[in-house]
Amino acid sequence: MKQFMMIFLGADYSTVGQSPEQMQERMGKWFAWGDKMAKAGVLRSGDALDKAVRRVSGPKRTVTDRAGSEIKELIGGYYVVAAKDMDAVVEIAQDYPDYDLNGTVEIREVMVFDK
């Protein structure tokens, strides 16, 4: 089995005007999706990420802080899953709850080193 990372990209929830009821429903979908993958034995790891963004960049190691609410394609979180191939992960990604908010799942294969 290969491993793939699903990186969740989209606007921070605080910027998209969701009522508490809508957020509750959305979180329910996240829970259900994680549960489904766990029960299928394919979930390897995952986290939601705090919206504060710090970047360290370039030869001077310059530090910049940005509010997540300013960033359109904010990394909101990720899951790492086991799957046969990319198409299988595209299938898994159909349950991502935030397509309606214009969210994106980026799918990347984990590189394996023959060491």
């Binding site: 929830y13 957020m23 790891s45 995952g46 990420l49 710090r54 960049s57 990394i75 990347r108 294969e109």
Partner: protein
């Protein structure tokens, strides 16, 4: 367990809860300017560069995990779930890999990143994000 943390989170609805242990977890995304820069960095590591290994050694017990990611991939996007291929010289800001590390606070992990990440001189960026955790 990290799975429970991932499932139990409602961003914004709960304040981060003080944890039993003093360490926080941070995701470090290694971002390259474009595909060429990413491939050059991968080549360097495959040709015996040990930047990655050296930093993992320095981190000791604070290194939780990490992976390099193959450059090609797909995106599934928006209401219509449009699937696009991702690999090409036109793509800017490619995530080449990540570490998951423990640190006391943002300042500590920033210092670690400044001292440890091995591709700053070629223009790469590390994005530091705190993992949202709930008391289990």
């Amino acid at each position: 367990m990290k799975l429970e943390k991932a499932l139990g989170i409602w961003p914004g609805a709960l304040l981060p809860i003080k944890q039993n242990h003093p360490m926080k977890e941070f995701m470090l995304f290694f971002i390259f300017e474009d595909l060429a820069a990413l491939e050059k960095a991968n080549q360097a590591e495959m040709n015996g560069g040990n930047g990655c290994f050296s930093w993992i050694e320095k981190l000791e017990g604070k290194y939780v995990g990490g992976n390099a990611l193959r450059p090609e991939g797909k995106r599934v996007s928006g209401k219509d779930r449009v699937v696009t291929d991702r690999a090409g010289s036109e793509i800017k800001e490619m995530i080449g890999g990540y570490f998951l590390v423990k640190a006391k606070d943002l300042e500590e992990v920033t210092r670690s990143v400044q001292e440890g990440f091995w591709e700053f001189d070629s223009g790469a960026t590390v994005e530091i994000r705190e993992v949202m955790a709930m008391e289990s």
